[in-house]
């Protein structure tokens, strides 16, 4: 599909110098003035600036837990502002992009122009034609799909104000607070009552124009009787020299509604990915998460579902692949508050080449969640004896009519299986890749076809150890 060039983005939004007043007070360089400047450049309403400043205070106060979670000492917490500044976050030109990233683009067949865009050295692209048609369709139905910044300057500002930052609290964890202080870019989606979109919205087409996605905030609000499928990310690695991603996704689902949120996250292998995603669901609705986590050096990722209404259900299907130098702590959280609510979690994890995979989950069933049902199934595959796979699920049940089932298995590919496939002509590597792809099938079959194919390709590359 042909792409058109988007006007060069204004990267100066993060362009600061050290002579800011009060700089010395903040050892990490992230001062209230920086935050004010961000807000001013975006021409934000007062309430948004207040929220940013409050978040900055919270960020200074909070500490990361010491008794669990991957090591993030590689993040330069003393110079957090540099993560926010554009100078270090983008490579200056194509030559600066690491070789293994370039290789991956090659293997995945990404067109050259897009490669530059993904690596942050070229102009941003979006698929103007497809996107243009989508926009007309959506406008007819009253669906809004824009940036939060644009929404704040439109008639939808009250909606943003009503929902932004209300689901994920500023003090959820230290990097949520950082996010709220410096967030930039991201999508705002609004689906009015009764509208059922027949095609998914894909954030890939909106590599957004302001800021480069490290601290993007996605806000999705759907009213009653709606149907929306939102796809975030893509299999191609996103590279940043300033290697912190602290994004947030807030989703509000109405009553009698259906929402599916699919992601393939493949941050480059130097990244620290501390992402926070949360949904709250009304009555008689269905929420589905489909999640593939492949990249980043360290991940903290636990999409959270609050089943506030009655008789709603949530399904979470996810896969995490941890290879060399990766310590991925992922899973999900479910809170069943309404009566008759159900949750079904199925996750797979694969550990290889010394990768560390931690499945971390919590299922909390509140006192009033009569007849709630939750099942969690977590399978881990160890591909060698130098990797690690830990399963740490927690359950907190406070209603006697609730039923919770949980099962987890950890093991390796059986020699018999490999032998069988080899006896049918596969090489050992092909056999192992086939088994792993089969293992990942419950996730890939939930994705739209081209994403599923991409995911399978990604797995193939990971198995070859070809990805940087």
């Amino acid at each position: 599909m042909s792409k058109t060039q988007v006007a060069d983005i204004d990267r100066s939004i993060y362009d600061f110098t050290k002579s800011e007043a009060g700089y010395e007070r903040y050892a990490d360089g992230l001062t209230p003035d920086i935050v004010r400047a961000i807000s001013k450049k975006k021409d934000e309403p007062e309430w948004m600036l207040d929220k940013r400043l409050e978040a900055l205070e919270t960020y200074q106060r909070l500490v990361m837990p010491k008794n669990w979670g991957p090591d993030i000492s590689g993040l330069d917490m003393n110079h957090i502002s540099t993560y926010v500044s554009p100078k270090t976050k983008q490579a200056k030109n194509w030559d600066d992009v690491p070789e293994d990233i370039k290789d991956t683009f090659e293997r995945l067949g990404i067109p050259q122009a897009e490669r530059e865009s993904l690596a942050g050295v070229g102009a941003q692209y979006d698929s103007e034609i497809v996107y243009h048609n989508m926009r007309e369709e959506m406008a007819k139905q009253g669906v809004v799909y824009t940036t939060i910044e644009d929404a704040l300057h439109s008639d939808y500002e009250p909606i943003v104000k009503r929902y932004f930052g209300k689901l994920i609290p500023t003090d959820d964890h230290k990097f949520a607070a950082l996010h709220y202080a410096v967030w930039s870019g991201g999508s705002f989606v609004y689906v009015p009552a009764g509208v059922k979109l027949s095609y998914p919205l894909q954030s890939y087409f909106r590599l957004n124009a302001q800021g480069a996605g490290q601290f993007e905030h996605t806000l999705i609000v759907t009213e009653d009787d709606t149907d929306l499928h939102f796809i975030e990310g893509c299999s191609a690695p996103k590279y940043y020299a300033a290697n912190l991603h602290a994004g947030a996704v807030e989703i509000y689902v109405g009553n009698h509604a259906h929402m599916r949120y699919s992601t393939i996250e493949n941050w480059s292998k130097n990244m620290y990915n501390l992402n926070t995603k949360r949904v709250t669901v009304g009555d008689d609705s269905k929420m589905e998460w489909v999640s593939g986590s492949f990249g980043s050096h360290v991940s903290y990722l636990y999409p959270t579902s609050i089943m506030a209404g009655d008789r709603s259900s949530v399904e979470f299907t996810g896969i995490t692949f941890a290879g060399q130098n990766q310590d991925l702590d992922t899973g999900c959280k479910v809170v069943l508050q309404g009566s008759g609510t159900t949750a079904s979690v199925e996750t797979k994890s694969i550990s290889k080449d010394g990768g560390i995979n931690t499945f971390r989950s919590s299922v909390v069933i509140g006192k009033h969640a009569d007849n709630a049902r939750a099942t969690v199934s977590c399978q881990s595959l160890m591909l060698d004896d130098i990797s690690r796979s830990d399963t740490i699920p927690a359950m907190d049940v406070r209603n006697k009519s609730a039923q919770v089932g949980h099962e987890a298995t950890i093991g390796r590919i059986s020699d018999d299986t490999i032998l069988y496939l080899m006896s049918r002509g596969c090489t050992e590597e092909e056999a192992r890749t086939m088994v792993v792809n089969g293992f990942a099938n419950p996730v890939s079959k939930e994705l739209p076809l081209e994403y599923a194919v991409e995911m399978n390709n990604l797995i193939k590359l990971e198995m070859e150890g070809a990805i940087g």
């Binding site: 909390v364 004896d385 830990d390 740490i392 927690a394 949980h406 390796r412």
Partner: protein, 392 residues
Amino acid sequence: MSEHKIKKGTIATKTASRSTIAHINVPPSQTWNYLRVNDISFDVPTPDAKGKVFAAVPRLFDAIETGGGTPLAHWIAEASGDGNYVEVPRFTSKGNPIVIEVGPGAASNTAIMVREGATANIVVVATAHEQEIPEASTPSDTSAALTRIFVEKNAHVKLTEVVATDESTQHLENVGIHVEDGATVDVRQYALGGSKVAYGIAVDLAGERSRFNLVMRYHVSGTSTLDVNHLCRQQGPHTRAEIYASGVLADSAHKALRETIDLVHGGKDSKGNEAETVLVTGDDVVNKTLPVILCDEEDVQGNHGATIGSISQEQLDYLATRGLSEQAAESLFVRAIFDDAIINAPESLSRNAAVARASLVLGSDVSHDLVEGLGIELTDERSAHAAQEREA
């Protein structure tokens, strides 16, 4: 018929001061702190013997990891005065149990060395007050038992723990076991009462082909709290671990259960299974579970399963065809916990304690029913009298 009885100490008589032991029952891998499932703390009397050095227990036992953790182990050692050391000689299998008994206000610290090829039967019993509660007791009495066992190669250990205290007492039950090549350890734990009970056990399957089986049964009611930490480190190759916990939570009971199977690098061809079944009958129950599998080795299998809620429909239907309504089935499940304790109690002290506790929970008709029905002898005179009266 003689049993090897262990001496215990009185925790504190000289001072009324209290202290807090934090971080009891901490699992090797923790989770989000806001869930408040990572540990528990206890408010306990400050021991008279604080700071003394104890000679009876050989140093090597200090290296044995316990389920309750080091701060707790230290406190129990201080609280029990001098410790006990028992050695079961090589290749012996006398069958007379080693019995460790603590009542309210008492603590014991026992180190047991089970030599190569020996068989040892160990019982830990936490009893309640006798019917006439002594004047000197305080409202929140504490009892505690620290038991560390070193199992040499090819030895076999059977450990039965019966905590049968009542609502006036809190109990701290802490066990650590080190297991060498080819040795096996079978543990049965019963949590039948107590206002606040911590049950911790850590087993290190250091030797190859060593095996660990654990069955825990619990009944928590009223406003009582049960906090459990089960940990098995499968270090040696070809080890096997099976951990199974099941119980009933009634009224406003609080329970936290942590199970960790740690498949350590080097423990090739090891298999660990953990499972939990919980029946919740109370309206204000808080039930927390943290079943963890840690895996650092390829050629292993780890499995975990938990079922929380009510009796399975399949079981309910079968029991209904025999005349049991759902409520009657629940009562049967509660009774079964106590019957199971009585059946598996290896000697009279533990058996009596289970029957006494069952009498308080189920009524004395039901509590003595099994004993009479199976012709088990109770050495407690009061029960024997009561039995005779019922026969009339």
